[in-house]
Every structure is written in C-alpha cells, then in structure tokens.
C-alpha cells in the first residue's frame, strides 16, 4: 500500500536490485532536490527540459511562462509525461573500467499533467518556491494578477514511479583485486556557497530566514 505499482513502464530492468518502489524512498529523493528533467514527446520527437519542481504527497508541481512550449503541450489531455530527478553522490572507480560506476539516487515518475488555477495554483507556487528556499514564500513579494496570468502551473499526479539507488564501494571481479590499480569512491556533493547580496540591496535590509541557513 505504500508502494507504487510496478509495470513494464517503471520496472527497473537493469540491475533490478537497485530498483525501489516504496513511496518513502521516492519521496526522500524528491525532497532532497528541486531541479528535475521533464520529458515529453511532440509528434514522436522527445524533449528533455530542466525545470524546478515542488512535491506534496503524490503530486508534483512545475511552473513556467504560460507561453512555454512544454507547459502548453503537457496541459493537453492524455499527454504522457516523464519527470526525472537525479542526485549524483559519487564516482565509483573500480579496478576495471567495466565495473566502474557512479553512486546516485534517482527517481523516474510517470503521469499526466494538468493545468491548475485559482487557489490551488497559488498553493502550488508556494510549494515550488519553498522547495527551493524553505520559507521564502512567506518572505518575498507574492505574485500579482499580471504575474499570475503570465504563469502556468501544472500538476502531475504520480501514476507510477521508481527509484534507483547505488551506494558503496566498487565491486570488482575476484581476480582483479590483485591488480595494482587504485579503487575507491570519489564522493560528489551539491554544495551551497555563502549568499551574495544583490548589489542594489538597500543597506538596512536584513537577511531573511530562508537565506540565513546558507551562512
């Protein structure tokens, strides 16, 4: 009941033991980021576009200009979408090139998108904004009517999802452990620098709480 259904679409075929279908794992990976890659196909031509997202329960929100090709396409009925989030955690240097790999956490989501309006649209924008900077929605100037009109927000209800995770050391062939080749992991992190104030910032403006956590 706390797992996504497994179909031919979301089943992890390559190295199935890395595949996970429980919502807890999927949510954790989604909540650790705010940048996804959205896939859609127009007349057979696939497009993959990076964009921000927000999540609440099994709903993913994305937004952009109302004139965006991606949003205009995806808001049509019965248009399948794919949304992928990837965190790179390490370069896995094995003794052989064949067993060299990466450590990562990724989620692939399938679902259809629909345009949302009114109160739900405003709530969705708050979720996206706060997924990037926690609490920012409560600090910044909120969108006015003109801005709301210029913005489209889509929700994607997760129909199917899978997570794929690799952690840990290289796994070499038994006979390769004697080779004089260094093996191990180079950790990879996404790190944040100290906030850099806008050059036009008025001197009496304090840093907001959503920003202070980066100090």
């Amino acid at each position: 009941m706390d797992n996504y259904n497994i179909s031919e679409r979301n089943r992890v075929k390559r190295i199935p033991k890395r595949g996970q279908y429980d919502k807890k794992t999927v949510y954790e990976i989604l909540d650790a980021g705010f940048l996804c890659h959205v896939g859609f196909a127009i007349e057979g031509q696939p497009y993959v576009i990076p964009t921000a997202y927000g999540r609440i329960a099994d709903t993913i929100y994305i937004h952009g200009a109302s004139t965006s090709r991606m949003l205009l396409h995806l808001q049509q009925q019965h248009v399948p979408a794919c949304l992928t989030v990837t965190h790179l955690d390490g370069i896995v240097a094995a003794r052989s090139t064949f067993h060299s790999s990466m450590n990562y956490r990724s989620v692939v989501i399938f679902g259809e998108a629909s345009l949302i309006e009114g109160e739900e649209k405003m709530e969705a924008l708050a979720i996206i904004t706060n997924q990037i900077l926690k609490g920012r929605w409560e600090e910044a100037r909120l969108p006015n009517q003109t801005e709301m009109k210029a913005t489209s927000v889509l929700k994607i209800e997760i129909e199917e999802a899978s997570a794929k995770v690799r952690t840990g050391e290289p796994k070499d062939d038994e006979e390769d452990y004697v080779l004089p080749v260094w093996a191990g992991v180079i950790p990879v992190y996404q790190t944040f620098g100290k906030p850099i104030a806008d050059s036009k910032l008025f001197p009496n403006v304090d840093m907001n709480e959503s920003i202070k956590i980066f100090l």
Copy 2:
C-alpha cells in the same frame, strides 16, 4: 559555421536572450560534466534516463548494458533522441517570487543514435571513461571480450543543439527595490570529496593520477 542551425526544435523560445547556439558554448557546457538525461519516446510514452556520456567534436557517446531498453530502442533507425546536460550554478532570490530564478548552464541536443562496434566502440568507451575521470582509461583494466559483448555503445551525432545560460543577480521590478526583502544569489556547486579507498584495496597500491587531482 561554428553555430548550430536554429529550427523550431532547438530554438530557445522562453527568454530568447538566454539562448546560445555557438559550438564553443555548447562544448564548454558538455565538457564541464559527464552526466546527462536522455529522452526517448516509445509509442508516445516519454522516458528520461540519467546516464554518463563522453563527447568528441559533434559526437556524443553513451553506453550501457546491451539489454538496456533505452539503448535497444535508440539504436533502431530513425528514432529521434534528446540529450540534456544541466549545471545548476545558483539560486537567485529576488524580492518577488515571480522574478526568483536559478543560475544555470544547460544544453539540449537533438539527434539520432546508432550502435557502434569494433575499434570505434573501444575508442568511445575510452572517451566516456576519461570524461568522468581524466586518464582513467590508461590506468584501469580494459574491457575483455565478454564485457565488450555485454556492453552497447551508441553515438549521437549532434544535429541541432542549443545552450541556455543564466548568470548574475536577480532582476526585480523597479518598484520592488525598496521592499525590505533580502535579495541576492546563493551559489551552487558540484564539489568532490577526498577519494575514499576501497576497503579491499591492497596496501601497496598507489593512488593513480586520475584520482590524485581530487586530493
């Protein structure tokens, strides 16, 4: 001549001034990474899969298990692919949520993939391996016949590409500069930790040059 052709497919429609079509910019963004998101569509269903890549001139190489659904699909003739590389460089906190944004460098590539074999296949694996860890191909055990058979390598000749880049400060509406909201940029980096030796590493094995640069 050093630019990609611009078509309806690769033209940057949203905020066109962020769009760039020169090969130099596209190559720089591609060469700054080794992880891409590949998009393909099977019977209208889009898939977006993270994978490693290598680049030389206008050719991108990807690889994986010969049984991979993605590789089996893309190696067919006349199957359009999309390959996207994104580097997140900053969170842009504007005074308004509407003008809040991200700094990033991204490239979207369109082309068709084809399976490669023989010497070219080995060269392509060297390019992918060395894109991740410079010089690793010259250090590690190279693939044997069984491993080569288990691996497929595809090349994608870039037909069309575009880069999209945002840098710098937030751009707020004139009247918002007086608001008591902090504005600026939180830089985002991909950073590498110190290499962690495999617990089974023989004590007399020196660190290879491809790994030492992370010290």
